[in-house]
Symmetry: C2
Subunit: 377 residues, 2 copies
Amino acid sequence: MDYGALDAELRDRNADGVVHVGDRFDDDLRYLTGFSGPDREYAFVYDGEGGEAILCAPQLFEEQAQREFSGTVVSAAEQEATTAGERAADLVSGTVLVPQSIPHDTALWLERAGCDLESTAVVERMRSRKTEAEIERIRTVQEAAQTGMARAETVLASTEVEGDPLIWEERVLTTERLRREANAAMALEGVNPVGNTVIGAGERCADLHFTGDIPIKRGETVLLDLSPRGPEGYYGDLSRTFVVDLEGGWERRAYVAVERAQEAAFDALSEGAGTLASTVHEETAAEISAYGFRPDGTPGFTHGTGHGVGMSLHEAPSLRSDTELEAGMVLTVEPGVYDPQEGGVRIEDLVVVREEGFENLTEYPRSLVPEVRSSGQ
Amino acid sequence: MDYGALDAELRDRNADGVVHVGDRFDDDLRYLTGFSGPDREYAFVYDGEGGEAILCAPQLFEEQAQREFSGTVVSAAEQEATTAGERAADLVSGTVLVPQSIPHDTALWLERAGCDLESTAVVERMRSRKTEAEIERIRTVQEAAQTGMARAETVLASTEVEGDPLIWEERVLTTERLRREANAAMALEGVNPVGNTVIGAGERCADLHFTGDIPIKRGETVLLDLSPRGPEGYYGDLSRTFVVDLEGGWERRAYVAVERAQEAAFDALSEGAGTLASTVHEETAAEISAYGFRPDGTPGFTHGTGHGVGMSLHEAPSLRSDTELEAGMVLTVEPGVYDPQEGGVRIEDLVVVREEGFENLTEYPRSLVPEVRSSGQ
């Protein structure tokens, strides 16, 4: 792990150290340490003077910390203090940079130890620009998401459409059955479906985070959004929309608008590093508008064009922000059109910004009518 | 959701409200709201005077909050404040109870709004004693873990043992291949393997949280610890240890010690509510000691006998604590014996404490030699 950005921030801010406390679900901490940790708090300390990164390992997790963290591991037995905040406070002094949302008790321990606290967003900035090694990890997770999508698309293509709802393997196909098939296919590829597998059908496609169980009917949109997490903590993010036994005009119109909008986003991104994030969103929304849908509400486009993906599923930058895109930023490109009376269509790829243009990390076909897919690519 | 315990705590503490801020990975918050939320901060506010529970829903998540939360949903558009902490501060006054680890910026917003902050552990206490509805959710997740274990045990029982390492379906069987099979089987049951599937082989069984990829050999212990998470956020927790082509004396001795230790724990738990948690651990450790292994170190028992399981994989109470067990507490019972030179054995069931005795939520056979299992039960 390269902590050069922490050194630079400490110099700029004339500060002495960085402290971060959280549990395994704190993505900044996992990014800083590589430690997949326990579900209780532990501390990361960066000492600016010696350039030393320290992990205060929780009891029973010393071995795992040694295996996963490249810096110095301090075991619980080596410290008198017991809480993560107090242990961190024992290892720093002077001006300490912390994230805004550091646990309140940790802040109090640090202040009691005489430290001056200042908040920093340096970790968010570090995370937004990925190294090639991080990009390869994300690519691998995205490939597993593609395998999950291929399984789900194949199931949809294999349904019987005689009656309504759809029948698959002699039972009614529901969003939950489809979710389980996609999740199992992703698990076999070594990634974890961590509760983010959103599958909507018909009107519920307009409900952006629908994870319930409803029958899937012929002629309605089926929107799948797969965002598994890989073993090193990085996410993938892939959405496709299908209609079995397509007839309706709305579904076709919405699909064409969304396909064209994604192309407009790609056109904007082809300028590469230096492009304003909000320009990508504006170009995308304008294209949706050109097809007769609202660019900023229902019926139409109800969310942003994309967000950063990495150690968190949603991280900086947002494509609605006025950030200048930098090489190495990994972003979703996911226009959508929703109408609570009709359904919803979204297509989502994952791309990485390059100095010149961008690279699409997704290689999954786009087709409104589901086909049998032999694999994810 | 019954917030009676919050009312009682507010009366006892002479306080006016409860505030909690976190993201979807904050299990207290998910417990209080049922909201599976986004990966950015949102706020829960409980107003003691009116007995009103309020969720400050993040943008784009209003629909999901309405669907999942039984109290009042306040949308982002209804409030001028934008951060979760500031939004919460707008809705409370007087003495406000917060968890110790509330985000520091939320604490500052509340103080700026004139609130007096006091920390509370009421949510941890509420969570430790499960309702029957919660127990049923945990039972369902445990059943899915059993299906995962059955798949893994069947794979082990189906290996070819001619050479070393083991061969399964014409390729070397590794801990990662076995993990993927178990995870996929659990995903098909509708639960999520969220990165906690620990599978050790041989010496690496002594490394309690091993998630790496190594070949599995004949005659060595294979330790599987499955702890998937269900769609409503509750965990299961199940461990078994197998040896393919068993010969060694150490593996047999360790297994007998661990089996007997688990029986000793069950004997202690059969006293039901009122039993001291630490008594269960002491009886278990004493039995391991009686078989010639260390009760508190290597080679022997290196961890506690169990912990609470619910919305977190590890929660109160620990079986090493001096808590009196209460009816409705869901606990793991997981003695183990580890020797870095030999391997490791752990057997883990999930039980619920009843007024009289306890109920085992696990129905999975115990056998050191793997067998082909047709299902999880």
